[in-house]
Chain length 336, copies 2
Amino acid sequence: MNIAILGATGAVGQEFLSLFLRRKFPIGQLRLLASPRSAGSKLAFGEDLIPVEAVGPDSFEGVEIAFFSAGASRSREWLEPALRAGATVIDNSSAFRMDPSVPLVVPEINWDQVRPDTRLIANPNCTAAILCMALAPLRNLAPISRVIVSTYQSASGAGAAAMQELTDQTRAVLEGKDPEPKVLPHPYAFNLFSHNTPINPQGQNEEEAKVMEETRKILGQPDLGMNVTCVRVPILRAHSESVTIEFASNAPDLEAVHDALASFPGVRVVDDPLTNTFPMPISASGAEEVLVGRIRRDPSHPAAISLFICGDQLLKGAALNAVQIAERLLPVKSGR
Amino acid sequence: MNIAILGATGAVGQEFLSLFLRRKFPIGQLRLLASPRSAGSKLAFGEDLIPVEAVGPDSFEGVEIAFFSAGASRSREWLEPALRAGATVIDNSSAFRMDPSVPLVVPEINWDQVRPDTRLIANPNCTAAILCMALAPLRNLAPISRVIVSTYQSASGAGAAAMQELTDQTRAVLEGKDPEPKVLPHPYAFNLFSHNTPINPQGQNEEEAKVMEETRKILGQPDLGMNVTCVRVPILRAHSESVTIEFASNAPDLEAVHDALASFPGVRVVDDPLTNTFPMPISASGAEEVLVGRIRRDPSHPAAISLFICGDQLLKGAALNAVQIAERLLPVKSGR
């Protein structure tokens, strides 16, 4: 399969390369594309060093699947050239996610939204994708009416530069310095802050609005009640989410919840009260599964449960989900 | 006023000394008490160096107010000797908080629980005290029926050794090492974890149970619905809390919420959506006020709002609240 990655030098872009190797993705030609500013370098891919090319009108010639991960404006700019060249586009930006004609896909949950002639598939917001992995098995047990989420989001969601900033700032603070924030608007070392996206008139920041609307779209529940608070914490690459789930009538019993989660592909239950072992970012980092634990009844609501989720922001929150989409496209594409 | 501090060498103990100076607390004799293991050192208090004595049966002779901050078992051990010596005890441990005969006090909220003959006052759990500072002004506007809280708790809640562990581990990780956790059970550098206290049969850890029952007692609402998730984050000394508040009938309008919080003593509203300025641990650290922001309607419930709180765990969460209790005792004691 001939592949292109737009945004190859970013934090997500680099994960694609590792995933292709680890999952033995059948790569024919591999084109690494980036802005002219990032082009010129070479990236290791197994034994090979592949040059990063500046994206241009001819970049998508012969490409069968194009992964876009260079932000919404680049996605809008390069969608038409990629489609015209015959590629199917898997877009990791927010550009097309809420377009009713574009499927927003977590393969384990709503692959049925993809049709044989689908040429553009949107990859969800990281926090929404990770959340849906825990919600989908539960709404298969009983209808969910309301979800209340507080997040603990990592630096990687703001890209490789933010990860570097967290590391550099922390080192500087430990040396007694008072570093100036550059990539993110607030000091990040030993600090946390409300997600740094603009706030809408309803008081939600852009990230929270994305999680709300994308979760509803992925689950196919446009009326799902959602309350989301998005917070950045000084963690490198895994998001955590504290989640309370209200069911429409009765909550399923906890054993059924546990079983439904444990048997859902891509979820791993980590829930041992005796040893105080629950999902943590360091356990989720690098893991392909979304970790779920702290499964318990909500003492304040007769039909609600609470749980705690951790997922790798760069994997199920981004590159892995996109590669899983591509893997499901393989039989379709090779059947042409 | 003759004062003793039991647990003077701990993280909270040290804060008492700074607060006495900053708030010009009228100190007569000051006795610094600790376990025999910690005794022998000297602590700076203004110009003076005060020796730390091993606590013993005669330690409370002549003491008028004794601050206990050395854990629940030490509090149980030294309560009777202190009371017998004539001291009034302000206890920062969990030993007596839920004893129906002991007032659990946040002075701005329920000072009316203290009687002229009260000789033992419990200082609340840090997370509960900080939470109540935001809830009390709101339940003065309209009855609150349910509170859903996810916390972002700092190292200081586990003491000075945990703060040191966070710093040391972070430095080690930045040097490429893989340090062994000692004070806390899980790796803490660039990580977070469910609060490291035992889990009860209902699935709540001890910290969550404390926050639930203490909040109900402080607010005088034994039936308040509460759902609490306590999480430790790699922050040094301020706790943050993401809070959703359901009102019994209608939610007050947001302007009234804002005004009630802003005019409540000890609360500072930090809520500027235009500049994305909200409460952060680094702003709360060292501040005597509890910071409240992200005040907004809950889009998933007609009578609910959400907000975000940060408070210094060692100040309003511990030493400051205890000193404020002592300050209110001064006229009572000096009137004897």
